[in-house]
Symmetry: D3
Subunit: 173 residues, 6 copies
């Protein structure tokens, strides 16, 4: 029987890559679409590690590309489940680039993907709850509910008036 709860740490997935010619756009920087694909694989492994089931990408929330990542860079993706809902899991991916000479790591991207656990017929199935431990894990866990309400509103599946968490943000309650 699968456990009822898991910590965020249990789903931590680390992937280090080198930006090869294959991965670059016409500016000789990492192609945005390639990074999106890498993040999808890393995040799906985290989601799988959380629930031990087949998972499929449900949505990509906000991803910001703040810095160009040049050819030959060493890039590390670290992903962890940030919150589990009944059948879905929100996953944060932090992306770091490493200075070629000093080796100093700089965070260059942060992305949020959501996955759903599915059975053989593709129907959704329940996943363990997530227990956040560190300060960052708790902050991300708390934010997940606001992001979920926001998604539901944007998809027309929730009325703004019912999004209690979000309303607080705008009304300063």
């Amino acid at each position: 029987m699968s456990p009822k709860t898991k910590t965020a740490k249990e789903s931590l997935t680390i992937t280090t890559k080198m930006v090869l010619p294959n991965d670059t756009n016409t500016h000789d920087n990492l192609f945005g679409g390639q990074l999106l694909a890498w993040m999808d694989v890393a995040a799906s492994i985290s989601a799988h590690r959380h629930c031990k089931r087949v998972v499929v990408t449900a949505s990509v929330n906000n991803v910001a590309f703040n810095f160009p990542i040049p050819h030959s860079s060493i890039v590390t993706l670290e992903s962890k489940v940030s919150r589990a809902f009944s059948t879905s899991m929100e996953v944060f991916i932090d992306v770091f680039v490493e200075d070629y000479v000093s080796g100093k790591r700089t965070k260059c991207n942060e992305a949020i993907y959501t996955f759903v656990a599915v059975d053989q017929n593709g129907g959704p199935i329940d996943v363990p709850k997530l227990i956040p431990e560190t300060e960052e894990e708790i902050a991300r866990y708390d934010g997940a509910l606001r992001r979920k309400q926001l998604s539901l509103i944007l998809a027309g599946k929730m009325k703004p008036a019912d999004a209690t968490e979000l309303k607080k943000l705008f009304l300063g309650e």
Copy 2:
């Protein structure tokens, strides 16, 4: 000299693909990361067609994967600039899948990406304004300001109280 305004239609980019073994996940459906990469290329061509400059992906807003897209499907991506801000462009990508026998097209995804036009040094440069024409283009144009405010809030660069467009949504003003 480049024109001061462009219509949405001028940036329309159509790409039809067949889902090959290469593109599938372990469920024999189109791999989410692959679709994200395809959308990035299509949307960047739309952004380039709008401003005729080099463009780089600035962010991916909400992307929902509603239906699995099986191996061998014919998939069509249609992308168009939905609104231009001073140096950035929001692009909508609609994804359709075609029934293998009847040929009937079904919309299976909708995504929003943002691009920035850059000069040789990677610095941002001004882009033409967008003139929406159809009803859908106008609705997307109007929504773009709310989404921009939302992004700024989520990134901590705007106070919720200043997001006039968004507040209306929650307060029903």
Copy 3:
């Protein structure tokens, strides 16, 4: 039941691509073999749209590479069935490249591929007839018979004397 006839327009397939580092030869231009593969996919979608069956490439007729297409170019492939024979379809693919600054489209390639519709066992099956409408569609439809006779002669399956359409070309009848 599938229709007895189709127009050329019904099989129109548009694919827009950007030439990425991956796709270039040692001159930093689009690699000929890559363009051949792209054309094969686009043309096979047109053939499938015409007959709604699995199709396999039967032959590539003349393809001329007139201009080098540099790295970062935006390339659009437009393919349409030009004529259907009992179980095979001839498809024309027109390839356009877009000027990076003015956006002006120039035709850079034209290719002709032939596909056969097959059943589960790989045996050939009948396809709908094609009705050409525009002037260009009619010219390509008429030329298709000459090209078919030419292929049969080159493959040693028809005697030159029986190639009535082709003989006219050489004898000026």
Copy 4:
């Protein structure tokens, strides 16, 4: 100084491949577009070996796909220059598939590509003449002139009445 003539044998290029999942279409057979790309690389090596210059694909003449080539097959491409004109070279590619158990080789495709030798500016430059030796090499050498006339006619660059070699074929002279 580069030699004035070369034999066909000097440009022989052999490439043996295994059909991997990557290379297959939705029927689990070798994807036509992939084979076209493989043939382009093999043929361009033959053309380069003949003239020791950079070569670019000028055209693909007739390619027939007679048999499906299943996943895991061992495929061998053999290419040789069949005739050299002033700045262009016609190359034949013979494709063989090997029976998995008996190892018996069967010819499954034959293709003809044409390449042009270019200088640093992409301008055409002279190539050595080809001396055919075997019976097959001589037959292909002789056919090359007919194919060249045919290409010129199809491209509207030669009048049928001037295509002396081709006229013989149709008039039985």
Copy 5:
């Protein structure tokens, strides 16, 4: 100025991958050549992290493929420099596969690659010494000299009689 010594831990590189259709052989298991390429990238990042210079693969020592790794497996590569010689670094790569349901990690491969640090002209340059810390690191550090002597003998660059470390192994001294 770069440090004179580094610990093994400082070069630890972790890469987690999912085996996608792309990566499989005709048995639906991870293709050996693909794993060799993954290990080469991971190991080269470790070597780079040790010396902060451009590194090139010098040799692959023994790699054993003990277990087939099926499609969809989650595979983790962990690589660390095991010993540095004047201009070269030996790197160990341990490969683990994770049980899909229990998540239990099993070691499935171990490989040893050697890299050389090079300057702009490709000439070899000095690298920091390696300080092993754990028991395993020390055992691998000690074995590295025997492996280096063995390589030199196999390459005909050392006489067996001079391979003091190796002779002990055979003579039981």
Copy 6:
């Protein structure tokens, strides 16, 4: 029934490739991992040609990368079975690079891979014996036993004292 013995020549596999942008590392030279993957495919075809069964990579023995192979090079891999043991085959791969102007071939790599023949369940099965013919084939055949003993010792499956062939090397018997 499959033959009891085969010559080395019967498994000769030739593969000629051009180094494309795709295949290069950050120095614009052929990426080591890519060459390892190419050698694995070529060697596995040789092993299959020897035994006509499914083969899987068992190990990579010593591979030395002596020279950088620049972008656009023409590279030829020649592989042949060097010795067959009961269920395994040792394969040598010689890699040559061709001077772009003179066409002169230089050997740039030599690698040794081992494959095992497997039945439907992945269990090992017997393979024909190999008969070496040329001087080089005989030398490689003789060395194979020493290499096998060495592998067994390194894997802890044989005591150095029992490695009769190897002991001679160190003791000069």
